[in-house]
Amino acid sequence: MSASDNKHNREDYLRMYRQMVRIRTFEDNANQLYLSAKMPGLTHMYSGEEAVAVGICEALTDSDRITSTHRGHGHCVAKGADFQAMFCELLGKEEGYCRGKGGSMHIADQSHGNLGANAIVGGSMGIATGSALRAKLQKSDDVTVCFFGDGATAQGLLYEVMNMAALWNLPVIYACENNGYSEYTATAEIAAGSITDRARAFGIEAFEVDGQDVLAVNELTRELTGRCRRGEGPFFIELQTYRYHGHHVGDINREYYRPKAEEKDWKESRDPIEKFTQWLTGEGIASTDELEAMKAEISDDAASAVDYALKAKYPETHEVDMHVFAD
C-alpha cells in the first residue's frame, strides 16, 4: 500500500476503514437474516470485496452516480446509504429504500446517487452510460461508475455501450469486479482472452488493480474521476477481488467448484480490512484500540437497525398498484 500525506488524510482513511467495516457488518447481519428465514428471495454477499466499493465510492461525491449489481449491498453502503432503510428493504418493509418492492437485488439510494442494483447481469450498463451522456450534454461535471462482475463481461450490451462511450467521450468508468467466478464457474472458463484488452479495442484506457487494496483502488479512481471531469473519459478498471461467501447465501458446499485452500488463502492473506488495519496501525494513523472501538460501534448500529427493521411496518397490499406509472 502506498499513500502520501498520511497525517493530513487521517479522516479520509478512517472513513474508508469505517465504510469497509460497515459493509462487512451489514453483510454478516443480512446473512443471518436470510439463514433464519426472515428475508425472502435471493441474496448475494459482498463480503471480501469491500475495498472495491469503498475505494471507488470514496473517490466520488454525492452527485456522482453509480449503477450496481445483484451483489449490491456493498455499493449501496459505500455510496452513503443508511443501515435502517437498507435492512427495511431487505425485509420488505415500507420504510425500505424501495418500499419493500425491490429487495436485496434492487436496492438503491437516489439521494446518494446510487441508481440501483440490478438483477439482470449487465443490466445497468446502458443506464450508466446514459447517465454519463446526460452529464456531458448538460455540462454537469459528475461521473458515473458502472459496477459489474467478470461474468457480466459475457453480455453483448457492454460492447455496444463501450463503443458509444468511447465515440462520445463520456464520463463513465466501467468497473469490472473480477472475483474469479461467475456463479459456479471460474472466470477463465467464461471469458476468452483479456478483459481489459476488450476495452482497449475501443480505444478506452483500461487498468488492472488489486481490488483488495483500498488505497490503490482509491488513488486510481481519484485520478480517473478527475480526468473524466476534464472530458477525458471513458475508462475501464478491472479489479481483482474475491467473494468470501457462496454465489448466493444458499451456496454452502462449494468445494466442487472452488477449493477450500483458495478461500482460506484469500481470507487469511489478502483480506482488505485486515490489510488496511495493518497499514493504519503501522503508519501510526490509528491504534488497534481505536479501530476495535469503531467496529464495536458499527456492530451496535447494525444491531439496532436490524431490530428496527424487524419491527417496522409492511406496506399495504394496495401499494402493488402504485408506482407502475407516475400518478
Binding site: 425472502p40 428471495g41 435471493l42 420488505g92 418493509k93 424501495c98 419493500g100 418492492k101 425491490g102 429487495g103 437485488m105 434492487h106 440490478n118 438483477a119 439482470i120 447481469v121 449487465g122 443490466g123 461474468g151 457480466a152 459475457a154 453480455q155 453483448g156 461467475s182 456463479e183 459456479y184 464457474t185 472458463e189 467464461i190 471469458a191 466442487y256 467448484y257 409492511y314 406496506p315 397490499t317 401499494e319 402493488v320 398498484d321 407502475v324
Partner: protein
C-alpha cells in the same frame, strides 16, 4: 401416442421428469445437446440438468457464458444446420435478452426462406412468481412468445406432461418454447417409464364438472383443482381444463367444455391484459359456444404491475385460490 401407465405408479418430481426426458434424448439421439448457464457441474439453477454432464460430457451438456443473446443465436444456428439443442434459460425473464434471436430468427426463418429450412430448437424457461425473487426473476411471459407465429409455446403442469412434452418438442421440426413454473419443480407425480410423448396443442381435462369451466395454465391448474374441490362441497361442479399449450391453442376441448357448462373462468399467472385468458375468451366469444354462455366470462390473471419483492404483495399480484372461489361463486350465483 400416450404410453401405458405403469402399474406401480412410479413417482418423480417435475424436475426429475424433465431430466429423465433429457437423459432419454441424449442417450438415443446424438444430435441432441443441452446448452445453458451453469448446467454442467453445477447442474443448473434449479438442478434440472443435475448430473447429466457426468454421463454425457461437456460436448453434449454445455455451459455457456452469461450470454443469452449469443447462446440463443448459437442454438438457433446449430438447430438450423442439424443439431437438436435444448437451451435452458436460468429464469424465463432473461428471454428478454434473447428475443431477437428467438422472434426474428428462430420463429421466422422457415417462412422467410419459403420452407427451405427448419429450426428444431427447444428452449426451456423456468417461470413464474412465488420465490420472492422480485420483478426481474418472477415473470410469466408465455404470452409474449405466444404472440409469435412460428413458435409453439407449452406450459406443462405435471411431471408426466413435463417429460412427455419435452420429448414431443424434440420430435417437432419447429421451435418449441417450454415454460416450467419454478414452484412445480419439486412437485411429485406419476411419470411413466421410458419414452413417450404428450401431444403439443392438446389440452387435458383434469376434472369433469357440469357447472363452471375453469381453463387454467401451469401452476394455476393446481390452484383451480383445489378451488374446484372446495366448490364441489358447496354444490358447484367445475370442469377444470389444463390448457397445456398456449400456441397452438386447443380450441375444441375448451369450446366443448363451455358448451357443457355455460360458464367460463380463465386463470393464468401472466399479466391479465392481452394475456392467454384474453385469447381463450375471444376464442369462445367468436364461436358457437358463445350462445351457451349463461354468465359473462371471467379472467383471473396477473395484475397490472411488475412482481414485487415483499411476499404479501407478491401474492396479491397473481390469482390465488380464494380469487377462483369468489369468481366461481359469483358467476354461479342463484343459477345452480
Amino acid at each position: 401416442m400416450s404410453a401405458e401407465k405403469s402399474p406401480e405408479l412410479r413417482e418423480l418430481s417435475y424436475a426429475e421428469a424433465i431430466r429423465e426426458a433429457m437423459d432419454i434424448a441424449l442417450g438415443s439421439d446424438p444430435r441432441v445437446i443441452l446448452m445453458g448457464e451453469d448446467i454442467g457441474v453445477y447442474g443448473g439453477a434449479f438442478q434440472v440438468t443435475g448430473d447429466l454432464v457426468h454421463k454425457y460430457g461437456t460436448d453434449r451438456v454445455m455451459d455457456t457464458p452469461i450470454s443469452e443473446l449469443g447462446g440463443a443465436g448459437v442454438a438457433v444456428g446449430a438447430a438450423l444446420t442439424g443439431l437438436r439443442p435444448i437451451f435452458e434459460f436460468q429464469f424465463s425473464d432473461f428471454a428478454a435478452l434473447a428475443m431477437e434471436q428467438i422472434v426474428n430468427q428462430a420463429a421466422k426463418v422457415r417462412f422467410m426462406l419459403g420452407g427451405a429450412v427448419s429450426v428444431p430448437l427447444v428452449m426451456r424457461f423456468p417461470a413464474g412468481s412465488g420465490t420472492g425473487a422480485a420483478a426481474q426473476h418472477s415473470q410469466s411471459i408465455e404470452a409474449w412468445l405466444g404472440h409469435v407465429p412460428g413458435l409453439k409455446v407449452v406450459q406443462p403442469s405435471t411431471p408426466e406432461d413435463a417429460k412427455g412434452m419435452l420429448l414431443a418438442a424434440l420430435d417437432d421440426p419447429d421451435p418449441v418454447m417450454i415454460f416450467e413454473h419454478k414452484i412445480l419443480y419439486k412437485m411429485k407425480g406419476h411419470v411413466p417409464e421410458g419414452r413417450y410423448t404428450t401431444p403439443i396443442g392438446k389440452a387435458a381435462v383434469r376434472r369433469e364438472g357440469k357447472d363452471v369451466s375453469i381453463v387454467a395454465t401451469s401452476l394455476m391448474v393446481h390452484k383451480a383443482l383445489s378451488a374446484a374441490d372446495q366448490l364441489a362441497s358447496e354444490g358447484i361442479d367445475c370442469d377444470v381444463i389444463d390448457l397445456r399449450t398456449v400456441r397452438p391453442m386447443d380450441r375444441e376441448t375448451v369450446l366443448a367444455s363451455v358448451r357443457k357448462t355455460g360458464r367460463l373462468i380463465c386463470v393464468y399467472e401472466g399479466v391479465k391484459t392481452l394475456g392467454v385468458g384474453a385469447e381463450v375468451s375471444a376464442m369462445v366469444a367468436e364461436s358457437d359456444a358463445f350462445d351457451f354462455l349463461d354468465a359473462p366470462i371471467v379472467r383471473l390473471g396477473g395484475s397490472e404491475s411488475p412482481i414485487p419483492y415483499n411476499p404479501e404483495l407478491e401474492k396479491a399480484v397473481v390469482p390465488q385460490v380464494p380469487d377462483i372461489l369468489e369468481a366461481a361463486r359469483n358467476i354461479a350465483k342463484g343459477q345452480i
